[in-house]
């Protein structure tokens, strides 16, 4: 079923596809980041593909790789009942991929989350700001080099326990 989708992407975007596999039955296409939005647009609009249902968008950090951040998109077609996973990788210097929020409204928040957690920027996103963390937060916590125990508190922690109120005086 999803083989047809992989073939369709390979046919339409021959130079963009780097590889594909079907590990555990999940069909995956690895593409170059440049025309990501065009590929997703094709998957959304084409009658044969008809991926009308946006499923998930996230990123994975591979600190040892040259192209460190991998953006992973899951799409689903309710009409045809097939799924596809699209992956693309970008380097740490300028982690920018085209936004797909114009195609799927739901991608808006998921892209904001990927930006918040990994610092991947989405070109063409209407309102790319942090979503789960606060505006003043420094760094991107799901990067592997962000220490798990690091604390950032919007309100300074108390140095000492708060003073206990005076006990009521004993009744005479």
């Amino acid at each position: 079923m999803s083989k047809k989708v992989v073939r369709g992407i390979r046919k339409g975007f021959k130079d963009e596809v780097l590889s594909d596999h079907a590990e555990h039955g999940d069909f995956t296409v690895v593409v170059k980041p440049g025309k990501l939005a065009d590929i997703v647009r094709y998957l959304h609009d084409d009658e044969e593909m008809c991926f009308e249902h946006f499923c998930d968008l996230t990123a994975v950090d591979w600190p040892d790789r040259e192209e460190r951040f991998e953006v992973v998109i899951h799409l689903h077609s309710i009409r045809h009942g097939h799924r596809i996973r699209i992956k693309t990788s970008v380097g740490a210097d300028d982690p920018t991929v085209p936004s797909i929020s114009g195609i799927y409204g739901g991608a808006n928040w998921f892209e904001r989350e990927a930006f918040d957690m990994y610092g991947v920027r989405f070109e063409g996103h209407p309102d790319l700001r942090r979503i789960l963390l606060w505006e003043e937060f420094e760094g991107h916590p799901l990067r592997k080099d962000y220490p798990k125990q690091k604390r950032q508190c919007p309100i300074p922690l108390r140095e000492q326990p708060p003073a206990q109120p005076e006990p009521f005086p004993e009744r005479p």
Partner: protein
């Protein structure tokens, strides 16, 4: 009596900004909605989530495979077992193992009981937000009967941690079938009572019909799933579309709505609750004695008597606790139907003792992303019931 000037009484049409939340008595869960008002009508709104962010994924990446299970409980705390089932199924898919028949059937039964609990409490909250406090008490009381049963089986009232990679923690207690069957009359009686109070109630209909409408196209583009998507008329249920566990052998219907408004979402949940009872009744008939846990030398803990009496058992126990088991490298996406919709786990393994990445695709995060569109143009008073009908669970949305 003091006289007012005419212009003082005039409701200003100038835009006014009002903050709802994050700690507001009307907002259950911590979410902030900034609304721009013209009179009582919302002109624009900004929904801000994340106040319950606890770094779920970061914690998972630093944990072993088995240690993740208690964290998944805290995602959707209204139906914790369904989250656990999603996670263990994803890891089992990565391992390539198939659990025993009894474990599968028990997972279905317990999962559906959790779904009933979730639907009860969601509809309860929605009624309460419209001022109907009696149905709230009825429904929450009924949920407690299920809590009592789950407590008896799993040992914990809310955060069960009962699923294991390869099966269940231990078998259910004796007399389980009868106790589950004894629940249904209580649940159905409560649902019938609540429906009698609300479904034809003039106030309830006025406040919910054609409020917070979403079309099927909008819902799909926003990645909606679950009862919210089905209320718009899209017949999509992961249990039907891609059957997992034993759902393929069970017969049940997928209730759909027509309008995609608050009333339809309310009705969809109760209709699904009835289907869940149907599923559990069939699953109980399928229940046969047998083992509930696979013997996975690299993942499942050995029996305690073996740990204490043999050196192999001790070493195996030690290795799994300290190193975290062996899962082959790879990536997997496993979608399951939870009470809120499609809960997907995208897990990446590098062959280590824990996940390299454990992504949760939270259904209500996607559902909430359309919240702004749903409330724009409506009345301020309708924000709270609309919010309630989406069933946003902070633990899952903010992770």
């Amino acid at each position: 009596m003091e006289k007012y000037e005419e212009k003082e009484l005039y409701l200003s049409a100038e835009p006014m900004k009002v903050n709802l939340g994050p700690s507001h008595p009307a907002m259950h869960g911590t979410v902030r909605i900034v609304v721009g008002l013209e009179g009582e009508v919302i002109k624009h709104s900004d929904v801000q989530v994340g106040f319950l962010h606890r770094g779920f994924e970061k914690e998972c990446e630093a944990s072993t495979w088995n240690q993740v299970i208690p964290y998944t409980d805290r995602l959707n705390y209204a139906s914790p077992l369904l989250n656990e089932i999603g996670y263990v199924l994803a890891v089992e898919k990565l391992l390539g193992v198939d659990v025993t028949r009894r474990a599968k059937v028990l997972r279905v039964i317990l999962g559906e009981l959790s779904r009933i609990m979730d639907h009860l409490v969601c509809n309860a909250a929605m009624c309460m937000e419209l001022g109907a406090f009696t149905p709230f008490l009825y429904l929450v009381k009924t949920r407690d009967y299920i809590y009592l049963l789950l407590e008896k089986i799993t040992g914990q009232r809310v955060m069960h941690s009962y699923m294991r990679i390869g099966g269940l923690k231990y078998d259910v207690t004796e007399g389980f079938e009868e106790e589950v069957r004894a629940l249904f009359p209580k649940v159905m009686q409560c649902v019938v009572d609540v429906e009698a109070l609300l479904v034809k109630n003039r106030i309830f209909i006025d406040r919910t019909v054609n409020v917070g409408c979403v079309t099927a196209e909008q819902a799909l583009g926003h990645g909606w799933t679950g009862p919210c998507l089905r209320s718009t008329g899209v017949d999509y249920d992961v249990r039907k579309a891609e059957p997992y566990l034993v759902y393929g052998d069970l017969s049940f219907d997928v209730p759909v709505g027509t309008n995609g408004d608050n009333y339809d979402r309310f009705q969809c949940r109760f209709a699904e609750l009835r289907q869940s009872i149907r599923i559990v009744e069939q699953a109980l008939a399928m229940l046969e004695p047998g083992p509930v846990m696979l013997d996975l030398p690299d993942m499942g803990l050995p029996p305690k008597d073996e740990v204490y009496t043999s050196i192999e058992g001790t070493i195996r126990h030690f290795m799994i606790v300290m190193k975290g088991g062996v899962v082959p490298a790879g990536e997997v996406y496993m979608a399951t139907e939870t009470a809120n919709g499609e809960l997907g786990y995208y897990i990446v393994s590098t062959g280590g003792g824990g996940p390299h990445k454990c992504r949760v695709r939270p259904p209500c995060f996607a559902n909430m992303s359309a919240m702004s569109q749903m409330i724009d143009g409506g009345f301020l008073a309708d924000v709270i019931p609309t919010f309630g009908s989406i069933n946003m669970i902070g633990g899952e949305c903010d992770r």
